[in-house]
C-alpha cells in the first residue's frame, strides 16, 4: 500500500501545506492529524473580535471543504520513529508516512510557579479557551492580565472595550517587548489613555483567594483585586512529543532553509515549531510565531515536499505581524527582536513608521496606523539597507507620511 504524505498539525500551517501538496500535483494519499477536535480555524480573532463578541467561532473557520485528504482530528501524535518512517499515537497506533510535515504549533505557557488551584485563571490559545474567557468576561469581573505581550495587550484592549476594569502586570518596564522599549513605551501610553492600570517592572508573588481568585499579590508589596486573571506569558512550541526522535529541537525543530528537518530529508516543518536559518539573521536559526509566517511556511514546505530535490526553494520571506489595540493597528515587518534601537522615519500625528536598526542597518519597521506604508519597507528590508540610505529614500518619497 502506498504510504501517504502525513501532516501532523491541523491548523493554518498544516492546511496551507496540504493545499500546496495537492496543488503541486500529489495524487496519492494525504492524511492530516490534528490534536484539536476542530477543523482548521484562524486564531488572530480569538484575542480580538471573538473575545468582544464581534465574531463567533464559526466565523474563524478556514475554508477547506474542497481539500482531498483524510482528516483525523482530536488525535495528538505522541512520538516519531524516523527509522521506520512512522508516527506513533497515544494509543500505540503507528501511521506510516512517505513524507511528513510537522506543524504542531505551540501552546500557551503556563504559570511557572506552584500550581494554582483557583477558579478564575485562564490562558488563551485555542477557540475553546477564547469562548471560556468570553463567558467569564460576561460576568463583568475585575480583570487582571499577567503578561503584557501580544495576547495580554489585546485582551486588555478588548476587555476595556467591554467596559471592564483591567490591570496589566508585567515584570518588564514596558508592554509589547516584541517592539523594543521605545515603542513599548508608546503602547504603555496607549493603554494608560484607555484607563488600564499598568503595573510594570514588578512580578506576581502569588494568587490569593478561597476557591476563587480574589487578588494577586505583587512583588512590590501591592495587591491587585481581581476575579479573573489571564495568564499571557507567551507560547511554547509543541515539540515535546519529538523528544528522543533524533531531531534537533532548540529553539524549535531545527530545519534547513528549505524547511526540511536537519537529519531527516523526508521530514518538513512549518509554523511555530520550525526553526530555520534566516538570511536577515546572518543565517542564525529563528523561530517565528506569526500568522503570516505559518501561512507562508505551510505553502513553502508543502511545495518543497512534492518538488524534486533540486527544485526545493529556501524560505526567506521578510516576516510580518500585527496587533490590534483600541483604534491602533500596530504592524511590523522584519526581525524586530534583532533591532538594537528604533528611529521614527515618517510620522503624521498619531500615525508613524519607525525603523528597527542594528549595526546601522534597518532590520525591521513598525507602523502605527500606517498600513499603506508597510509594503515599501517589507520590499526593502530583505537587503537590510543602511539607515541613512533608507531614510533618504523615505524623505524623497511623495507617498510617505510627513518626514519626522
Amino acid at each position: 500500500m502506498e504510504r501517504p504524505i502525513v501532516i501532523v498539525g491541523a491548523s493554518l500551517a498544516g492546511l496551507r501545506a496540504a493545499q500546496a501538496v495537492r496543488k503541486g500535483g500529489h495524487a496519492g494519499p494525504l492524511t492530516i492529524l490534528g490534536a484539536e477536535r476542530h477543523r482548521p480555524y484562524t486564531r488572530p480573532p480569538l484575542s480580538k473580535e471573538l473575545l468582544v463578541g464581534a465574531q463567533e467561532a464559526g466565523d474563524c473557520a478556514l475554508p477547506c471543504d474542497d481539500l482531498d485528504a483524510v482528516w483525523r482530528l482530536g488525535v495528538p501524535a505522541s512520538a516519531l520513529d524516523l527509522a521506520q518512517r512512522e508516527l506513533i499515537l497515544d494509543d500505540g497506533e503507528r501511521i506510516a508516512y512517505d513524507r511528513l510535515l510537522i506543524a504542531t504549533g505551540s501552546r500557551a505557557r503556563l504559570w511557572p510557579g506552584p500550581q494554582v488551584e483557583l477558579e478564575g485563571l485562564h490562558t488563551l490559545r485555542d477557540v475553546d479557551d477564547a469562548l471560556a474567557l468570553r463567558a467569564a468576561l460576561a460576568g463583568r469581573p475585575r480583570l487582571a492580565v499577567v503578561g503584557g505581550g501580544f495576547i495580554g495587550c489585546e485582551v486588555a484592549a478588548g476587555a476595556r472595550k467591554l467596559g471592564l476594569d483591567v490591570t496589566v502586570i508585567d515584570v518588564a518596564p514596558q508592554p509589547m517587548p516584541a517592539l523594543g522599549h521605545e515603542l513599548g513605551e508608546r503602547c504603555a501610553e496607549l493603554h494608560r489613555a484607555h484607563a488600564v492600570d499598568l503595573r510594570l517592572g514588578t512580578a506576581v508573588e502569588r494568587f490569593e483567594g478561597a476557591g476563587r481568585l480574589e487578588a494577586i499579590r505583587l512583588a512590590d508589596g501591592s495587591r491587585v483585586e481581581a476575579d479573573v486573571a489571564v495568564i499571557a506569558l507567551g507560547a511554547v512550541p509543541n515539540t515535546d512529543w519529538l523528544a528522543g526522535s533524533g531531531l534537533g529541537l532548540e529553539p524549535g525543530v531545527v530545519c534547513h532553509a528549505t524547511l526540511q528537518a536537519r537529519g531527516a530529508d523526508e521530514v518538513f516543518c512549518a509554523g511555530d515549531v520550525a526553526a530555520w536559518p534566516h538570511p536577515m539573521a546572518d543565517g542564525e536559526l529563528v523561530r517565528i510565531e506569526h500568522w503570516t509566517t505559518a501561512a507562508e511556511q505551510g505553502t513553502a514546505a508543502g511545495r518543497n515536499m512534492v518538488a524534486a530535490p533540486a527544485d526545493r526553494v529556501p524560505y526567506a520571506a521578510v516576516p510580518y505581524f500585527w496587533s490590534d489595540q483600541y483604534d491602533v493597528k500596530i504592524q511590523a515587518v522584519g526581525l524586530m527582536t534583532r533591532a538594537e534601537r528604533t528611529e521614527v522615519l515618517e510620522s503624521d500625528g498619531s500615525r508613524f513608521v519607525a525603523a528597527g536598526v542594528r549595526d546601522g542597518r534597518v532590520v525591521a519597521a513598525v507602523g502605527f496606523n500606517a498600513a499603506r506604508r508597510l509594503a515599501f519597507y517589507r520590499r526593502r528590508l530583505a537587503g537590510m539597507p543602511p539607515l541613512e540610505e533608507l531614510a533618504a529614500e523615505v524623505a524623497a518619497d511623495v507617498k510617505a507620511l510627513v518626514a519626522a
Binding site: T42, T292, W322, Q331, N369, A370, A371, R372, R379
Partner: protein, 63 residues
C-alpha cells in the same frame, strides 16, 4: 475575466494582498483598500495567493 470580491466589512487593511499581488490590490490614502474587481485570467493565481494571504479571509476569487 476573473472576478475578485473583497468583503469590506472584514477587510482591516493589513495590506497582505497589496504586497502579494500589487497588480490587483492597493492601499489608498487613509489605508482603505482599492482593487480591480475584474482581472485577466492570467492573474487568477496571483489573486488566489492574495486570498490565501489575507488574515481576515476577506477575499474571494471566482471565474
Amino acid at each position: 475575466m476573473t472576478k475578485v470580491h473583497v468583503d469590506m466589512n472584514l477587510c482591516q487593511s493589513h495590506g497582505e494582498c497589496a504586497y502579494v499581488a500589487p497588480e490587483i490590490f492597493e492601499l489608498g490614502d487613509d489605508d482603505v483598500l482599492q482593487w480591480k474587481p475584474e482581472v485577466d485570467p492570467s492573474l487568477r493565481e496571483k489573486a488566489e495567493e492574495a486570498a490565501d494571504a489575507c488574515p481576515m479571509q476577506a477575499i474571494r476569487v471566482e471565474d
